[in-house]
Amino acid sequence: MIAYLIRTFSFFMKEIHDVRRQPRLMLSLVGGPLLVLAAFGATFRSANPFVSMVLVWPESGIPGFSQEQAEKFLSSNFYLVEITTDEDEAMQMLDRGEVDVVQVIPEVIIDQVAAQVRPEIQIISNTVDPSAEAWIRSLSYGEMNYINKQLLSQQAILAQDKAEDVNRSLLTMQDEFEALSQNFDADSIDRAKDMIAELRPILADLEYYLPPETQAQANLSPELSKLHSDIEILIDDLDELEQVLDQGDLVTHLDRLNSVNDEIGDLQGSVDVFITTPTENIISPVRETYTNLRGGAYSMVVFYAPAVLALLVQQLAITLASLGLVRERQMGSFEMFRVSPLKFSQIIVGKSLAYILYVSIAGVILTFLLSLIQVPMPYNLGQYMALLVLLATASVGIGFLISATSRTDSQAIQLTMLVLLLSIFFTGFFLPITGFNWPAWIIALLIPMTHAITGFQDLILAGQNLGSDVWIGLVIIILLSYGLVSLIMRRQYRKVLD
């Protein structure tokens, strides 16, 4: 047993000496990516695609949406190269590749909108970047909604102005119909007909300018929901009154007249509500409230820090271990080991311990350095250290697996790069794994970083203890990788010179 430990320890010490004599290797593996992260933090502006645009603005402008507003709105998301009124010039700029997008705003007249004519905002692009295209379309949709909202707002203000006029007319009419009903005679019939004739265009005008009745508006107020129907009812009543005035007797006349008066009263009530309802509520009855129980999300740099930490620790461990066995084999050291009383397990255990120690120390240093860029310290230090050691162990196992299947240094480095690529795409590093089909999930589960990202995010960002899935995931990777390494390498160790 003592001899076993001595042999294992000799490998541990050998690796410790070997790695400490290569400070540049450690610096490049740890310091390099950390500098990249620092540069990212210092220079990061936006995760949105950079899209340049020329805006073709109509000479007559858009009601309720000034050119300055458009410029401000677009500049926050696009790089606005120029605003012009010349569509041909803008298209030539697009053809020459000077801009990515041309946006043509049509001439919009408020009456066109009310008359249900739909002017079209044209967005023309020749981008090859799918994310840029999605970004352009999403922003165009938002911009269209914004313009629509502005136009509806204008229309609603106009409608409220009209409604005030109508309300005043309705009040006069109501007074006159009241007076007429108190003293109705043959001469009054002509006066009533004149009043009906006066009221019709007023009602038509009001209906024309009213915003369309929607369920959302109905929810806002019952009066608003029946504004259109009140107008219709009043118009019907006026029609009936007109007929009765021509044919009916006095009692019937009075009866219809009172009914019209009542309807005018109802319509007045609804119009009052419409006039006093804020424009914003009429055109956009639903609004959202957002609450983040944590007080707010982290900055992009801080949010990505745990994933970067996981990536650095994993790649450092994989790089060290992937070269660890393949170099021994290439140097011919296995020939000496094979002649000696050394067992393969002593090589693996000794090397693993040294690499895990180095990687864990590097992980602690990285954690400290990340705290300098405002990344919070881990919530539970014990769990954090355990996670770091497990991640290092699982990654060393993957590294040994690469080493066991590589014949040369360059093969091992290529495979290490392949794991790096897989880790970037399939671990939730920047693309959520739920966005992939299930085969990708298997790959994700076999990469230590997948579990470590979840673990580090829980401990550093969310401030909560780790779930059992993180521990189980890493332990399975350790068992699988070391088991496979043991199978492959024992065979190779026996046939050391094949």
């Binding site: 001899a3 010490m13 050998k14 000496h17 070997d18 011919g332 050394l342 050391v496 010179l497």
Partner: protein, 332 residues
């Protein structure tokens, strides 16, 4: 008879009997019969690719024979346990220690893989570094050692666990003659301490340092003998070198060829007056030949001395003889 067999085995460190390892395509070693006496140096000499390294790897247990038998101290190498392995020291052909470790760290590592404690290593490293004259380089990184120093570091490391048999695969390859001589001095000291050494080399002249020499070609053992014995075998006897006036040379050759104690007379190429006379015992026959030449045909050679052919010459003659006999064997 049985007692004689046991006695023979107890004197042998290594025995190979018809050992073969066939890699296919003509590569490998075939029908190796070799016996290494304890406390001796056995050299294996042969051109590159002749199977020297494979023979060593059969003995140290890296390879197993496809047929025949290999025994080291009576045990098959593939059945070595940890104790058996601790008795073997091995210096591979290339430097396989760690460039980023110092001389001492490398030795501690090798001691560690043989299960030696730190104190055991400490006690042995100092004298071994003195033995290979690397004391001053103790703290130097292995990558900063010269080729010769790296070889000596390998030697010291291989001796750290005090093996009873040392196998060195071309330990002097690529280093200067003075250093080669020093390494051979080390080997002879080890032999004198009772260790058994098996050393492969491409330098034919190094055969002189060995107690017995095995010559290999194309995976087969051509001959195994003492250095002196090899010289005799190569030349067909011991050699007397004569220098005779050119005009009397033919007469001299005819006379010598008729003498019963003379095996053969050879004219020396590029020396018009030189002759090699092959006899059983050069020291004994030289005075007899000189008096016969003087008395019977009145020739007095200008030079007459026993001649020891160089091992290069011996090697070339042995290889050519092997090629000739192989060619004869191939004739239907």
């Amino acid at each position: 008879m049985e007692i004689e067999q046991v006695s023979q085995e107890s004197q042998e460190a290594v025995r190979m009997e018809d050992a073969c390892l066939d890699f296919g395509g003509g590569a490998g070693v075939f029908d190796l019969n070799l016996s290494l006496p304890k406390g001796s140096i056995t050299g294996i000499i042969g051109p590159s690719g002749c199977g020297k390294t494979t023979a060593i790897r059969l003995i140290n247990g890296i390879y197993g024979p496809t047929s025949g038998e290999v025994r080291v101290f009576g045990k098959k190498p593939l059945a070595y346990d940890a104790v058996d392995k601790a008795g073997i020291g091995y210096i591979p052909q290339h430097f396989i220690l760690y460039p980023n470790l110092s001389v001492e760290e490398n030795m501690r590592f090798v001691g560690g893989i043989y299960g030696m404690s730190a104190s055991e290593c400490k006690a042995k490293i100092q004298p071994l570094l003195a033995f290979v004259e690397l004391e001053a380089a103790r703290k130097r990184l292995a990558r900063k050692l010269s080729g010769g120093m790296q070889r000596r570091l390998m030697l010291a490391s291989a001796l750290l666990h005090d093996p009873t048999i040392l196998m060195a695969d071309e330990p002097t390859a690529g280093i200067d003659p003075i250093l080669r001589a020093r390494i051979w001095e080390n080997f002879r000291e080890l032999r004198d301490q009772g260790k058994t050494l098996l050393v492969t080399t491409q330098y034919v002249g190094e055969a002189a340092y060995c107690d017995q020499v095995a010559v290999m070609r194309n995976g087969r053992l051509i001959v195994i003998d003492t250095p002196r014995g090899l010289q005799r075998r190569a030349m067909g006897g011991e050699v007397i070198h004569l220098q005779v006036e050119e005009k009397k040379l033919t007469k001299c050759v005819r006379f010598l060829e008729k003498l019963p104690q003379v095996y053969r007379v050879e004219r020396i190429p590029a020396d018009a007056e030189g002759l090699y006379v092959l006899v059983e015992d050069a020291g004994k026959e030289l005075p007899n030949l000189l008096s016969a030449l003087k008395e019977e045909i009145s020739i007095v050679p200008t030079t007459a001395e026993p001649y020891l052919p160089s091992f290069d010459e011996v090697f070339v003659r042995l290889i050519r003889a092997a090629e000739t006999s192989q060619a004869v064997e191939m004739v239907p």
